[in-house]
């Protein structure tokens, strides 16, 4: 999955989303830049409140609050999704760019049959008769591994299990063969065994359709399974991005160390206790000055009071950027001290 040769699908530059609340302005997304190429899986990783879901929703034009202010640009091929008119946006939604939502229990309308809910999308974009549309739906449902697809057309969402519903959501998202698929925590609401199946479906699709997938998640296990590139978000900003290998083997930002440290790995001796990041994520209403991670970072010093830029800092790795001003050599040393935040990254990944 080399990203450099394939077509550039999505180009997000300096995306900012803020909400006016009675208490003040909340900067939910701050200067986020991302690219997505055909056939690539980009994982956007972060904890709750990091702005990753708001980013995903904004790309779909679903941040509709009258209190929201959106800045920057997000080009889907030549169309800027942030400034597109309602009709232009409608034409690409579901057709060019589709989304899989977190909770399959609530994301399907409970009073309509699932077949109808997918047919509705196909007929919004394609001039097909009901019969043709239903055949297309059956094909999609079979593709995502739903048995007896034709009978399931007339099922209501509540008659299906959670995993089946998420497959229906995926079939819905894929029904018009979109070139960009945004998956917002697609496995979070599901059982672990079902999660693996859904990930299998997703990676299968990436191979078959050459679509680009933006995978929004807090689950690094999911990321390790499927991602080509990773962007780590913290408090509205991307703090580090690079290839999956770079992030997992050579993480540069202390927050990324913390994230990686918080998952247990079977290929390592088990630490006495999983290290965790102390403190709470900052209030986006009154974010800390400079580096947002500064109040929780054990290595913070005066230089962190200025907002660090997201630039390549590792010699020779041009696509690996981070927002930590520490020298790469010092980072490598700190990472290896036990008991500090982050785990040493050694050994074979996967």
């Amino acid at each position: 999955m080399s990203s450099s040769h394939s077509e550039l699908l999505l180009d997000v530059q300096d995306l900012g989303v803020s909400f006016a609340t009675p208490e003040g302005i909340v900067q939910a997304v701050d200067a986020v830049s991302l690219t997505l190429h055909a056939g690539e899986v980009l994982a956007v990783v972060g904890e709750s409140g990091s702005g990753k879901s708001v980013t995903a929703m904004t790309l779909m034009g679903l941040t509709r609050s009258p209190n929201a202010r959106i800045a920057g640009s997000a080009k889907l091929r030549d169309l800027d999704l942030l400034t597109a008119g309602a009709a232009e946006l409608r034409a690409v939604r579901g057709e060019e760019i589709a989304m899989i939502f977190q909770d399959p229990m609530t994301s399907l309308n409970p009073v309509h049959r699932i077949g109808r809910q997918i047919v509705e999308q196909i007929q919004a974009h394609r001039d097909v008769c009901g019969k043709e549309a239903r055949d297309l739906v059956v094909a999609q449902l079979e593709r995502v591994g739903i048995p007896q697809a034709r009978e399931r057309l007339d099922a209501y969402p509540h008659e299906l299990s959670g995993g089946m519903r998420q497959r229906v959501m995926i079939a819905l998202a894929l029904s018009c063969d979109p070139s960009v698929l945004i998956a917002d925590e697609p496995t979070t609401a599901l059982d672990v065994t079902i999660q693996a199946q859904i990930l299998e479906v997703l990676s299968q699709l990436r191979k078959e359709s050459n679509a680009g997938i933006v995978l929004v998640t807090h689950d690094l296990g999911v990321v390790a399974e499927i991602a080509d590139r990773i962007a780590v978000m913290y408090a509205g900003r991307i703090v580090e991005q690079g290839s999956a290998g770079e992030i997992f083997y050579d993480p540069q930002h202390p927050y990324t160390w913390g994230l990686l440290g918080s998952i247990a790995r079977v290929d390592r001796p088990r630490p006495r206790r999983l290290p965790s990041i102390t403190g709470l994520p900052p209030s986006l209403l009154h974010p800390p000055q400079g580096c947002h991670f500064r109040p929780r970072c054990p290595h913070a010093h005066e230089a962190c009071l200025a907002t660090p830029a997201l630039v390549a800092r590792v010699p020779g790795a041009h696509d690996h950027a981070d927002r930590c001003v520490m020298a790469p050599g010092r980072k490598a040393k700190l990472r290896q001290v036990g008991g500090q935040i982050g785990l040493e990254a050694r050994g074979a990944w996967r």
Partner: protein, 334 residues
């Protein structure tokens, strides 16, 4: 969900911890609701001050001035003409809002009527609340046959055409009064419409209370109280009741508003407050028949009633918005 709008900041914590304080702050921001709440308080104060105005006007709510005259703009006019048409509002101390066909001062009757209407409205709502909380809590807490008996009775009440029931009870009790053991209520007592309204309204509040108790009794804090050896009474009044307060508050203003309207309807049909005792309902009932000659007899008590009920409805609405966390405007995601 990763929405930046509800940050887990330290500043947000006290709000979560003290819902009552939060609700109060939200209510304080709602100027309209507060304004109408104040209006209702003012109306109650006005009703309490009825004797004061009666003193100023120099009459009582039941004193007839059929053959009296009053000086308006320098001219002497009959309070009630020989054709039986009462004087219109004079906008002065005597007969400020005109007279009725018996030559009684409408302004004085309006204020005394307000005492009765408000008394019935508030007393009925209080009784309804006590009955509904009792029934709803018992049914929800004990479940089983207690619940079956209470719920089925409420079903019957629900199926009963409320106004038909109220009118039937009102007319028959007004005639005969009520005798239950040592308690004796005469037919013209305002406790009769009060009790009727209280009883027919119980179902509106008892059902939601029962539902809430059914879910509350499974909560950990009830389990904890039970584990500490608390009896059913302690749990019902010590643990459950405080959690029902917001439901009760939301309903209370609306119950009062509803009771005032119901009193007017019953009185209009002769099944409520009995003449000569004034209430807005009885004044309307008398006034409507004279709409052609004396519209003030219909318009004055009607406007007073609408203003009162409207102020309660708007205030109650504000209370509900403040207490209901869903009332918050939230962004479309998150």
């Amino acid at each position: 969900m990763a929405s930046g709008v509800q940050p887990r900041s330290h500043a947000a914590l006290p709000e979560v911890g003290r819902p009552a304080g939060l609700a109060l702050r939200r209510l304080r921001r709602n100027r309209t609701a507060l304004g109408f709440g104040a209006l209702f308080v003012a109306l109650v104060a006005l009703a309490l001050a009825a004797p004061l105005w009666a003193h100023i006007a120099g009459t009582t709510p039941s004193k007839n001035h059929l053959s009296d005259t009053v000086v308006v703009d320098g001219r002497t006019e009959q309070v009630v003409t020989f054709d039986g048409v009462p004087i219109a509002p004079t906008w002065q101390k005597k007969f400020f809002l005109g007279a009725d066909t018996n030559g009684r001062d409408v302004a004085v009757r309006l204020l005394y009527g307000a005492r009765n209407s408000l008394f019935i409205g508030i007393a009925a709502a209080l009784i309804t609340t006590v009955l509904a909380v009792l029934l709803g809590t018992l049914a929800g807490y004990f479940r089983g046959w207690t619940d079956a008996v209470i719920s089925r009775s409420l079903d019957v009440l629900w199926a009963f055409p409320v106004l038909l029931l109220g009118v039937a009870l009102g007319v028959s009790l007004a005639l005969g009064g009520l005798k239950v053991g040592p308690l004796e209520i005469s037919g013209d007592s305002k406790w009769i419409p009060t009790m009727i309204i209280a009883v027919v309204s119980v179902v509106y509040l008892a059902r939601p209370i029962r539902g809430q108790v059914l879910s509350l009794r499974e909560k950990e804090f009830v389990e904890a109280a039970r584990a500490q050896g608390a009896g059913p009474l302690r749990i019902m009044f010590g643990e459950l009741l405080p959690n029902l307060v917001s439901t009760i508050l939301v309903f209370f203003a609306l119950l009062v508003a509803n009771a005032i309207l119901l009193e007017a309807a019953l009185s209009f049909l002769g099944a409520g407050v009995q003449p000569p005792e004034p209430s807005w309902g009885t004044m309307l009932a008398e006034g409507i028949t004279l709409l052609a000659t004396s519209p003030h007899l219909t318009i004055v008590p009607g406007l007073m009633l609408v203003l009162t009920v409207l102020s309660l409805n708007i205030f109650g609405d504000g209370v509900r918005d403040a207490l209901d966390p869903r009332g918050k405007v939230r962004p479309e995601h998150g």
